[in-house]
Amino acid sequence: MYRAFRILWLLLLLTPARFAQAQDEQAPAPAPAPTPVPAPTPVPDTLEQKSTITGAEMLDQGREYRREMGAIAIQIQVQADQAKAEKDVIRLNCLLDKLTQVRVNSNIMDQAVQALQDDVSRNDESGELHEYTRITIINQKAQVLRTEADACVGAETTYVGRTKLVVESPAGLDATVDQPAPAAPPITIIDRPLVASPFQ
C-alpha cells in the first residue's frame, strides 16, 4: 500500500511535466530575440552650440529679427493700402489676415527679446538658448507670412472683363428670333398692279 502510494505520487509529479514538455514541442518557435535597439544618438549637448554664439550675439541677432519683422509689417501694410485704394476686396482681406498674424508674432517676439535680454543679464545660458530658439522660430514664421502676403491674389486674376451676356439658341434656330424683322419691301411691291378698269 505504501509502495503503491509512492508510485502514484511519482506519476502525479511527473505527468504535468510531460504534458508541459509536449506542449512546448507543439508550440511555435519562439520569436527571435529582438535586435538590440541601438542606443539613441546622444543629443548633442546644447551647451556645446552655445559656444558658437554668445548671449550678446543672440541678443543682437534677435533685435535684427525684430527689425525685419517690423519691415515685413510695413510692407504688408503698404500692399493692403494699395488693395484698398483699388477696391480689391479679395486681396485686401488676404493681406489684412497676414498683417494681423505678423503683428501678433511681433508682440511675441518683443516678449522673447525682452526675456532674452533678462537672461543675458542674469547670465542664464539655458534661458538664453530657449528664448533665442523662440525668436528664431518667430522669425521663420514671419518670413513665411511675407511670402504668403506676396502671393495674395486679387480680383485681377478672376476679372476677365466686363460682363457680357451671351444667349445661345438651340441648334438650327435663328439667333434673331426675338428681334424685330429687318427692313424689307412690302409684299405688294412684288405684286402686280391690279386692273382698275377693263381698259387699263
Binding site: T163, K164, L165, V167, S169, P170, A171, G172, L173, D174, A175, T176, V177, D178, Q179, P180, A181, P182, A183, A184, P185, P186, I187, T188, I189, I190, R192, P193, L194, V195, A196, S197, P198, F199, Q200
Partner: protein, 440 residues
C-alpha cells in the same frame, strides 16, 4: 463586292454639303416668314458658301450664274385666252462681303454688297410674247457697324427693276415696269446685356411705275420705334409704333390717288416658347389717315399678326402665319383690308437636297371707289414648291413650280358705250422651271 461602287457613290452624294446648308440657312435670319411665304426662301444667295475668291484680308467675292428654263402657262395673266410659252432665265450674280466663309458676321464693321441681273427670254415666235423679254437687275448692299454691341447701326439699300407682262395680249401693250429703291437706317440700342432692346429705323421706299401706270408711282417714308423687353433669354415682349407718309409723285394730276399717313401700333410677344417653337403674336391699332376719301374703319383699324415657327430638326423647319392689316393700293380704292394666311416649309435631305414649299392666301377687300356701286373683293393665292440638289461644292440642279391665282369675288359694273363691263381680274398662272447653277 458589286455594291461597293454604289455604296461609295451614295456616301459621296450624301456627304455634308456647305452649299446646301447655305441654301437652307441663308434665307433664315434676314427673311421674314411672310416673305418666305411669297417665295423669297429660294433666293439665289451665295452667302455662307464655303468658297469664294479671297480679295484681301477680309473681303471675299462670291460669284454665281443660274440658268432656269421652263414653261409659263399664262404669260399675260389672261382669264380666257391664255398665251403659253417656254421661258429662259439667265441670272449672273456677284456678291462681295467680309463675312466669314461660314456666313458668320464679324463683330465690328460688316458689309455685304450684291448685284444680280435676271435676263428673261421667252422662247416663242409670238412677237407679243417676245416683247416681254426683259433685263431685271437688282443691286443692293448692307452695312453694319458694331454689330452685336450695345449700340449698333445698320444701313441697307436695294434697287431693283422689274418688268412684268401687261394684261393685254398685244404687241402695242406696254409691259408693266417698276423701278423700286428701298433704303433704311436702323439704330439698335441694347443696354444691360440686351435685356432691353430699342430699335429706331427709318425707311425710304420709292416705287416708280413707268408708262401707263405712272399715276401709281409713290414715295413712302416710315419711322419705326420698336422697344422690346427680353422677358426670357430668347423671348421678348415688345411694343412697336410705325408712322409712315405716302406721297404720290403725280398727286396734282386729276384722279390721282390720295396720299396717306399710315400709323401702325403693335403690342406683342416674339421669340421662343420652347426650344423648337417660336412665335410672333401681336395686335394693335392702325389707321391710314388718307388725305381724302375713305379710311379703314372698324376691324380695319385693328392690326393682327400671328406667326408660329417650328424647327423640327436641324435640317427642317416650318412656319404658319396670319396677318390682318390694311395695304396701300395705288390703283383701286386707295387701300384694301387684307386677311392673309401663309406658310412655308423647308427640309434638307441627306445634306444635299433642299426642298422648299411655300403658300399664301389673301382676301383683299378694297376701299370703295366713289361712283361705283360696290367694293371690290379679290382672293389671291400664290404658292409653289422647289427642290435643289447640290452637286459637289459648286454646282446646283433644281426644279421649281409656282402658282399665281387671282379671283375677283365682287366688282362694280361700269357701263361703257352701252355695254356693262366689270373690272374683274381672274387669272391662273403656272410656271415650271428647271435650274442649273454654278456658284463659287
Amino acid at each position: 463586292m458589286r455594291l461597293r461602287p454604289l455604296v461609295f457613290a451614295f456616301c459621296t452624294a450624301t456627304a455634308a454639303s456647305p452649299a446646301a446648308w447655305a441654301q437652307l440657312t441663308s434665307s433664315g435670319p434676314s427673311v421674314s416668314l411672310e416673305s418666305m411665304s411669297a417665295g423669297a426662301g429660294r433666293s439665289l444667295s451665295t452667302k455662307g458658301i464655303a468658297s469664294g475668291l479671297k480679295l484681301g484680308d477680309e473681303a471675299i467675292l462670291h460669284a454665281g450664274v443660274f440658268a432656269d428654263i421652263g414653261y409659263d402657262s399664262n404669260v399675260f395673266y389672261g382669264s380666257t385666252s391664255q398665251q403659253t410659252s417656254a421661258v429662259l432665265h439667265i441670272t449672273p450674280r456677284l456678291e462681295l462681303t467680309n463675312a466669314e466663309r461660314d456666313g458668320s458676321v464679324p463683330g465690328g464693321a460688316y458689309y455685304d454688297l450684291s448685284a444680280a441681273l435676271d435676263r428673261r427670254q421667252y422662247l416663242s415666235s409670238n412677237d407679243a410674247i417676245t416683247k416681254q423679254d426683259a433685263w431685271n437687275p437688282t443691286i443692293g448692299g448692307t452695312a453694319e457697324f458694331s454689330s452685336g454691341q450695345t449700340l449698333s447701326l445698320s444701313l441697307t439699300d436695294t434697287f431693283s427693276r422689274f418688268q412684268q407682262a401687261p394684261y393685254v395680249d398685244s404687241v402695242q401693250a406696254e409691259p408693266i415696269t417698276t423701278d423700286d429703291n428701298m433704303a433704311s437706317a436702323s439704330l439698335h440700342f441694347a443696354p444691360g446685356g440686351g435685356r432691353l432692346r430699342v430699335m429706331l429705323r427709318y425707311t425710304n421706299l420709292i416705287n416708280k411705275y413707268n408708262g401707263a401706270y405712272d399715276s401709281g408711282s409713290f414715295m413712302g417714308n416710315e419711322g419705326v420705334l420698336d422697344v422690346g423687353w427680353r422677358w426670357l433669354p430668347r423671348t421678348t415682349l415688345y411694343a412697336q409704333v410705325a408712322q409712315g407718309a405716302i406721297t404720290y409723285f403725280n398727286a396734282n394730276a386729276p384722279n390721282a390717288p390720295p396720299g396717306s399717313y399710315p400709323l401702325r401700333t403693335l403690342l406683342g410677344l416674339r421669340g421662343l416658347l420652347t426650344e423648337k417653337l417660336a412665335v410672333n403674336i401681336a395686335a394693335g391699332y392702325s389707321n391710314a389717315f388718307y388725305t381724302r376719301g375713305e379710311n379703314p374703319s372698324g376691324l380695319g383699324n385693328v392690326g393682327v399678326l400671328a406667326e408660329v415657327n417650328y424647327t423640327m430638326s436641324l435640317l427642317s423647319r416650318a412656319g404658319l402665319g396670319y396677318h390682318h392689316d390694311f395695304v396701300n393700293s395705288p390703283f383701286v380704292g386707295s387701300y384694301y383690308n387684307m386677311d392673309a394666311i401663309y406658310g412655308a416649309f423647308q427640309q434638307m435631305v441627306a445634306s444635299r437636297v433642299v426642298t422648299y414649299l411655300f403658300g399664301r392666301f389673301e382676301n383683299r377687300r378694297f376701299g370703295k371707289v366713289p361712283g361705283e356701286d360696290q367694293s371690290r373683293v379679290d382672293n389671291f393665292v400664290m404658292g409653289g414648291v422647289a427642290i435643289d440638289y447640290m452637286i459637289g461644292k459648286f454646282f446646283q440642279a433644281g426644279a421649281s413650280y409656282s402658282l399665281n391665282l387671282n379671283r375677283t369675288a365682287t366688282a362694280s359694273t361700269v357701263v361703257v358705250n352701252g355695254t356693262p363691263t366689270t373690272s374683274e381680274l381672274n387669272y391662273t398662272k403656272h410656271v415650271l422651271l428647271f435650274r442649273l447653277g454654278l456658284m463659287y
